[in-house]
C-alpha cells in the first residue's frame, strides 16, 4: 500500500473512531448545578428541546417555568435553549426536517407557519386535556388560530398604555392649570394629549427641543397602529380586504404629521437621534426627554431597573374624541409544536403545564399579565409590575384590538410603517403656502398633508391588496395542483 493510500485509510479510521468514542449526552453537559436534582431520573426521561427567544431576566423567567415543569414530573425533561431569530431558525429547521420539539415564536408567525404546514394543530391535544376556549381572553386565543384551527397557545403577552412622567407634570403644574388642564391626571383624549404635550414641551436657547411632552414617533414600534385610536382599522373584519386608506387612519397620520410640522422635522430628527437604546438609562422616557409615551406592559420593569425612584403613572392611551375606549393593541408570544417534532406528546405535556401552571411564573418574573380569562389566585400579590391592573383591564377591554389576520401581514405592517415614515419626513411644499399666515396657513398645510397621506396610504392599500389577492390565487392554484 502506498503511503498516501495508507494515510487516507488511517484518516477514515480516525474519523469513525472519534464518532464512535464520542461520549453519550450526560447530565454534566448541561448545568450540573442546576440539574443535579434530576440525577436519578436523568436517563429515564424523554429530553426535549424548547427554542425560545428570551434572554436576560426575561429568559431567566422562562427558565424558571421550565424548571418548575421538570420538577413537576419525572417523564420529560425540557431543555430551554435561548435562540436568536427563532422564527427564521424554526422555518429552516422545519424545512430541513430537524425541528426542535417546542418553539416560542411571535403571534405574527402563526398564519404563515400554519399556512405552510410548519406547525402541528393543537386542537386534539386541547380536547383530550380538557383545555377549552374559555380558559383564555378571546383576542389572545384568536392570535393563535388560523382557519378554525389552533396552532399555538399564548405565553408572554403585550398590551400597551400611556406612560406619563409625574415629575414633569408636577414641575409644570402651574402652567398646566393655567391651560385648563389637571396636572394630577394624564390626558383622556388625543386632543387633550396634544394640549398637555404643548405645555410640557421645553426648548433650549437655540430653539431645539430639550423635553418633548409627547412624540408620536417614540418609541416608533407601533406607528402602523395609530389609526385604531382614531377608530380606524387596517383590514375590514368582515370582508378581509385591506383598509390602510381608511379615513380614520388618514386622520391618525395627519395628527402625527402635525407634530413634525409644529416642532420642525429636522429638529425632532436631531432630538431623536440623541436617544439611547430601549434597555438603558438613556431611554427617552426613562431619561426624561419625553414626558408621555406609548409603551408595553413590560416597561415598568425596565424603568425600575434603570431609575428605581422615577415617579411615573400608567393609564389607557387616549382615543380621539368620539372613539370608544379604552383600547390597546394586543400582541403576544406563542408556543407551538413544529411539524416533524420527534416528541409531540411530550411537548404537549409541557405546553399544558405552561397553560395551567407555568404562565403565572412567567408572567410574574417578566412583569406581565396573563392571556388567561381568569387570573389564578395569588398571581397579583407581590407582582413586581405595580401598574398591572391597568394592563389587565386593557387586555380584557372590548375595544382592544389585534392585527389583521392576513398572510401578508408582516409586509403590510412594514409598508404602513414605511408610509408613516414617509409622511413624517415629507417636506410640505412652500409654493402653495406663499402669503398665508396663521390659521389660513395651518389649514393649507393640513390640506396639503392630508392629500399626501391619502395618496400614500391608498398606494399601500392597492399594492398590498394586490399582493394578498395574488397570494390567495397562488394558494388556490397550489391546492388545485395537489388535489389530484
Amino acid at each position: 500500500m502506498r503511503p498516501v493510500h495508507f494515510g487516507l485509510a488511517a484518516l477514515i479510521v480516525v474519523v469513525f473512531l472519534i464518532g464512535y468514542l464520542e461520549p453519550q449526552v450526560a447530565l454534566t453537559d448541561f448545568d450540573p448545578k442546576r440539574d443535579a436534582a434530576f440525577r436519578d431520573t436523568w436517563n429515564t426521561r424523554v429530553h426535549i428541546a424548547y427554542w425560545e427567544k428570551w434572554a436576560s431576566f426575561e429568559g431567566e423567567a422562562c427558565q424558571k417555568m421550565v424548571e418548575a415543569f421538570n420538577k413537576s414530573q419525572d417523564e420529560v425533561f425540557v431543555h430551554y435553549i435561548q435562540t436568536s431569530q427563532v422564527d427564521r431558525k424554526t422555518v429552516l429547521s422545519t424545512v430541513g426536517g430537524a425541528p426542535p420539539d417546542l418553539v416560542g415564536v411571535w403571534d405574527n408567525n402563526v398564519i404563515p407557519f400554519a399556512e405552510g404546514g410548519a406547525l402541528a394543530p393543537l386542537d386534539d391535544f386541547m380536547r383530550e386535556s380538557g383545555l377549552t376556549d374559555d380558559h383564555y381572553i378571546p383576542k389572545y386565543l384568536e392570535l393563535c388560530r388560523y382557519r378554525g384551527k389552533t396552532y399555538a397557545l399564548p405565553t408572554a403577552v403585550m398590551s400597551g398604555a400611556l406612560f406619563w412622567n409625574k415629575e414633569h407634570f408636577r414641575r409644570k403644574a402651574a402652567d398646566l392649570r393655567a391651560a385648563g388642564l389637571d396636572p394630577d391626571r394624564p390626558p383622556r383624549t388625543i386632543e387633550e394629549l396634544d394640549r398637555y404635550a404643548a405645555v410640557l414641551n421645553e426648548f433650549n436657547a437655540d430653539g431645539s427641543p430639550g423635553i418633548m411632552g409627547f412624540l408620536p414617533t417614540e418609541p416608533g414600534w407601533w406607528n402602523h397602529a395609530w389609526g385604531y385610536y382614531f377608530g380606524g382599522n387596517l383590514a375590514d373584519p368582515k370582508t378581509g380586504r385591506l383598509t390602510a386608506d381608511d379615513p380614520a387612519n388618514v386622520r391618525a397620520f395627519l395628527w402625527a404629521k402635525r407634530y413634525a410640522e409644529a416642532y420642525g422635522r429636522e429638529k425632532l430628527l436631531r432630538f431623536r437621534a440623541g436617544f439611547g437604546t430601549f434597555d438603558s438609562p438613556f431611554n427617552a422616557f426613562i431619561e426624561g426627554k419625553v414626558s408621555m409615551e406609548y409603551q408595553g406592559v413590560w416597561f415598568p420593569m425596565f424603568i425600575r431597573r434603570h431609575r428605581p425612584h422615577m415617579e411615573f403613572g400608567v393609564a389607557p392611551f387616549p382615543c380621539a374624541a368620539g372613539v370608544p375606549g379604552p383600547r390597546s393593541y394586543l400582541e403576544e408570544d406563542v408556543i407551538a409544536i413544529p411539524r416533524g417534532a420527534k416528541h409531540p406528546k411530550e411537548a404537549w405535556k409541557f405546553i399544558y403545564f405552561a397553560q395551567t401552571q407555568g404562565l403565572p411564573i412567567l408572567g410574574r418574573l417578566q412583569g406581565k399579565h396573563l392571556a388567561l380569562a381568569a387570573t389564578p389566585p395569588g398571581f397579583r400579590e407581590g407582582h413586581p409590575n405595580l401598574e398591572l391592573k391597568v394592563f389587565e383591564d386593557l387586555a380584557a377591554a372590548p375595544h382592544s384590538f389585534i392585527a389583521p389576520r392576513v398572510i401578508v401581514w408582516q409586509e403590510y405592517r412594514d409598508r404602513v410603517a414605511r408610509a408613516f415614515e414617509h409622511v413624517w419626513n415629507w417636506p410640505v411644499p412652500e409654493g402653495p403656502l406663499a402669503g398665508l399666515t396663521g390659521a389660513a396657513r395651518q389649514a393649507k398645510v393640513d390640506a396639503l398633508c392630508r392629500e399626501e397621506i391619502e395618496e400614500t396610504l391608498h398606494e399601500v392599500t392597492v399594492t398590498m391588496q394586490a399582493k394578498l389577492d395574488r397570494a390567495r390565487a397562488l394558494d388556490t392554484r397550489r391546492a388545485g395542483r395537489a388535489a389530484p
Partner: protein, 392 residues
Amino acid sequence: MKDTRRRHLAGYAFILPWLIALMVFIGYPFLAGFYFSFCDYPPLKSPLFIGADNYLELLGDGIFHRSLGVTFIFAAVAIPLGVLLALVLAMFLNARIRGQSFYRVIYYVPHLVPTVVVAVLWLWIFNPDFGLLNIVLKGLLGPVDRWTSVFFDLKAAAARGNFLRPGAAALLVAPALALAAFGSAGQALARRAASVAGFLRFVSVLAIALAAVAVVNAGLGFLSPADMKELHSPGWLANGNPMPAAVPFAPSWALWALVVMSMWGVGQMAVIYLAKLQDVPTELYEAADIDGANWWNKARHITIPMISPVILFNVVMAIIGTFQVFAEPYIMTQGGPEDKTRFVAMFVYDQAFQYQRVGYASAVAWVLFLIIVALTVLAFKATSKHVYYAGR
C-alpha cells in the same frame, strides 16, 4: 500512457472532495436559485412555477428600485474613495521610515475586527450628541468659523446676502506673498539667501492655506447653507436628506455615514497595493531620476501603470463587495431613514426571510448577479488599454 492516465486519475481524486463541495454547496444553489426565480416559493411550501412573474413584479417594485439606487450611489462614491485612499495609504506605507512594519500592522488591524463589532463601534462614533465624530467636527469647525468671520459675515452668507467684510481684502496678502516667494524675486532671493527664501515660501503656503480655508468655508456657506449648518453637528444615521442638498441623487447623510465607515477597511486594500508597489523595479525610478522626473511624474508614469493590474483587481473586488453590503446597514439603520440605506442585499434578505418569498428573492439575486457580471465586464473593457501586464 497508462501511467499518465493513472496520474490524471489521482489528480482528479485529490480534487474530487472540493469538486463535490463546489457542486453541492455552490453549483446546486446557483441553479436551483435560477429555477426558483421563476416560482412562487414560500419556504414551507412546494415551489409553484409562475413564469416570469417575479421579474415583471421587479419592474414595478418601488422599494427594489430605491434599494438598487442606494447601492449604485454607494458604489459610485465609496469605490473611488476607497481605491484612492488605499492607494495613498499604500504609498505612505511604502516610504522608508522608522517603524514601517508597525504602521503597516496598525492600518491592517481594523480589517480583522468582526463586522458586527465595527458596526456597533461606529454607531457610537456617529451618535449626534456624544459621538466622537461630531465632537471632532465641532472642535474643528468652531475655530474655522471664528477665523472665517474675520473676513466674511457667515450669517449673511447663509441668508444669501452680501457676506464680504472689509477685512476680506487682507486675504489678498496670501497670493501676493506666494507670488513674491515663488516668483522671480523669490528665486533671486533663493540664490542669495536660501534659508530666508525657504521661510518665506513656508509662510506663503501657510497663508494660502489659511486664506483658502476662510474662502471655502464662506463660499460653501453661501452656496449650500443648509448643508454647512448640518455639517456642524450632523444627525448622520438618522438624517435621510441628501448631501449636498442641491445635487440630485446625492447620497443621504446616513449613506455618507456608511461611506465614511466603509473606509475603515481600506487597510486590506492598501496591503495588496503595497505588495505590488514593492514589486516595482527600482531601476525605473533611477532612470526617471536621471531624466529629472519629480515625485508626481514618477507616480503617474511609473508607479500607477506598474500597479494597474492590482488597481483593477481591487476595483472589481470592491464592486462585488458593494453589491453584497448587508451587515453594517442591517445593524446600524435597518435600511432607514425612509429606505435611504436599504441596500439591495437587504431587500433580498427581507423578501426571503421576513416575507417568506424565496422565489422573488431569487429573482432579485439573479438580477444582482447579472449586474455584478456586467459591471465587472465593463471594468475590464474600460481599463483594457490602461492596465499594464508585465508578462504580456
